[in-house]
């Protein structure tokens, strides 16, 4: 400690440090960089990390294939599900002249904050996970496209199924107050009423709430045939579980926000007979799905690729194809190419409409059965072996 405080020693230390810093400059290698932003930390890290890995896989495969004259490099940045952090990350990307295009975001508020930056700096941007309709439908930026279906695109098939085919006629709606929940409420309610269903009550809950017994007890008084939930995994699972606990034994249905193994894990036995849908088809039924799974495992990623892995994989593919066709210099041309693309990828054929929204909407139906999500067609419920609550 004494030595550390000596003046000459400090001088020596300082000069060594200075030379270390000054040496080997700030050289940058010449590669084509593609940005990725997602929630790599924080509550949605599982989604973000999985997507990042899938994105990385696509770029590694492109580099390994030798088909491209450049070397691609992924710049993965964290938005921590926070708009301010996301904006800083986006600015970091657009500040780097080597970045030709980017893909990002699972959280809609973050995407809504950053797309303006990508638009201002003319960096082509593909949203891989955020599902707020406004991201494409309202702003219609020419450089911003999205490979994920909006939640409005998911509610239609759910209504067809639950009301049209299964014949449930009265609903209580619970939605969370997030943009996701609110949009679901706005999308589901008129669709359901148009199909002749009655909405008996509408309640909204804050994300992060854990005790839903007061509302569920109240809903029990309305005696609906089914509960529609507009929200995501955790609240959904808790509501489902607590429905049983207050003796509300009714059908529970929701769109893809709850389609996660975690839902069944948290809901436990009460996850039985829960109906949900998910965009796209199960990974093993996708063209190239098994190949993707194998490559993903071989690449040695520790985390599962999650629900949005295929989206990120395809958005990387779209960017790679665009860059290889029009070159990395002209970003406007890349954006133009992407808007007009017909891309055959993991999720089938993706193309974008005039607002940049994907037209590739396929949904699969699932039901919770013995602790697993089972495709409706293969389930005991469709075969009549088990019965849904009515």
């Amino acid at each position: 400690m004494m030595l550390f405080y000596r003046k000459p020693f400090l001088f020596l230390l300082l000069s060594i440090l200075f030379f270390l810093i000054a040496s080997n400059g700030w050289a940058q290698s010449k590669v084509v960089k593609i940005g990725f932003i997602g929630p790599l930390t924080g509550p949605n890290a599982a989604q973000g990390v999985g997507a990042r890995n899938a994105f990385d896989l696509a770029i590694r495969e492109a580099n390994a294939s030798g088909k491209y004259p450049y070397k691609f490099e992924m710049i993965a940045l964290d938005d921590a599900s926070d708009p301010a952090t996301g904006v800083a990350a986006a600015l970091k990307l657009v500040s780097d002249p080597a970045v030709v295009a980017a893909s990002g975001h699972w959280n809609s508020p973050v995407a809504l904050a950053t797309i303006h930056i990508f638009h201002t700096y003319k960096i082509p941007f593909i949203v891989w996970g955020a599902i707020h309709p406004d991201i494409t439908g309202f702003y219609k930026y020419p450089g911003v496209n999205r490979v994920a279906p909006t939640l409005v695109q998911e509610n239609g098939p759910l209504c067809d199924w639950v009301i049209g085919e299964l014949g449930y006629k009265s609903f209580s709606i619970i939605s969370d107050t997030s943009s996701y929940g609110e949009m679901n409420l706005k999308a589901f309610r008129p669709m359901a009423e148009a199909k002749g269903a009655k909405i008996l009550s509408v309640d909204s809950v804050t994300v992060g709430t854990t005790d839903f017994r007061p509302i569920l007890t109240k809903i029990k008084g309305h005696n609906p045939e089914a509960i529609y939930f507009g929200g995501v995994v955790m609240e959904g699972a808790l509501i489902r579980d607590q429905m049983e606990k207050v003796g509300l034994k009714k059908l529970f249905c929701a769109i893809s926000g709850i389609k996660d193994d975690k839902f069944l894990e948290v809901a436990g036995p009460s996850g039985e007979g829960v109906l949900t849908i998910k965009p796209g088809r199960p990974i093993d039924k996708l063209e190239g799905g098994t190949k993707f799974v194998k490559a993903y495992e071989a690449a040695g990623y520790r985390e599962p690729f999650g629900a949005y892995g295929p989206n990120a994989y395809d958005s990387a593919g779209i960017i790679l194809e665009a860059v290889s066709k029009v070159g990395p210099e002209d970003k406007g041309a890349i954006a133009k190419y992407i808007r007009g693309i017909k891309y055959r990828g993991l999720m089938g054929e993706t193309s974008f409409d005039a607002t940049g929204q994907t037209t590739n909407v396929m949904v699969s139906r699932f039901v919770g059965q013995s602790g697993k999500w089972v495709a409706w067609e293969d389930s005991d419920y469709a075969k009549g072996v088990r019965k849904l609550p009515k």
């Binding site: 001088f11 810093i21 926070d82 500040s95 002249p97 943009s179 609110e182």
Partner: protein, 384 residues
Amino acid sequence: MRSRTLGRAILLIGVETIFFILFAAFMMTFDTMKIVLFILFFIGIGLLFTKWDRARHVLTNLFKELKIFASLWFVVLLLTVPFVFQSSPYLIHICVMAGLFAILALGLNFQLGSTNVVNFATAASYGIGAYASALLAVHFHISFWLGLLIGGSLASLFGLLLGIPCMKTKDYYLSLVTIAFGLIIYILLINFTWTGGPNGIPNIPPPSLLGHSFKDPIHLLGYQLPFQSNYYYLIFILVGGSLVVAHRLHHSRVGLTWNAIREDEIAARCHGIDVTWYKILAFCIDAFFGGVAGTVYSHYIGFISPENFAFIVSVVVVTMVILGGMDNVFGVIMGAILLTILPEKFRAFEDFRILIYGIIIITMLRFRPQGLFPQKMRIYKKNG
């Protein structure tokens, strides 16, 4: 004699410029290893400075004698920041954010530093300013400049409201009230539909001045500066203004009164100080600063949502004040700058950021409660 002054001035310019270049080089470093080296370098300089009495003596005297000149040159250097970071809007963005937090921290300093009132509702006044001006701009097309005043005043009004319970309560109870208020504002922002709920408010128009929109780059002396530079200069003026206000307040009767309340509330009351009134005043001024910062933030980013104004933001500002040095205006600004730049530099450790904040607070309180830059004793000169 004159040549001696000239020589000193050149020395001063040299010292400040070298530090500025070091700072700029640090900002442009992205390699974690190098960042660490840089920080060690800075710490080394700091240590050297504390150990090497003669150098310290010379430099402090230099700064004291040529005080005005030193600050003028410092201002000039700061004004060149957008030119230096011209190719990287990201770095200017960090500087803007550092400035915003400096305003927040300066505001909180009136309470936490000067008066010893712990306020955990900074995020709330920040949010109120941001939402008020954003809503006004989006729905009623009220200009940013008016919004700045309205945002600040509304936040100030909130400060008054928050100050009311402090007539009856103090210490823990008052902190509970501020925490509760902060949480209430957050919950309301999330749940009200007219504030956009959790979706927030998108598309907040940028301010414009004399026909120049802040969204456009600045063309100056043949340089094109990225649009963030507009905000950089705006923030520069605002921080400067806040600094002057804070400095004047500190050296006025009000600042002295606050300090008296901090040292001993009962004694202050016995001396005829209206403790409640001065505390409410601190609440209002703090909230005004918060409101102004919030307004700038909302128009700068163009999008706000409740997450920007969560409880943790308040704690971050508290950390800045404690790290920098309670009641020391310069220290508080340094605290804000350090705690804005360092997390950006160590993005890889983003996950540990809040944990580190917590550890910083506890360690500082325990071992160096006066902060990195302690407030000096008030010195009164006999004038004449």
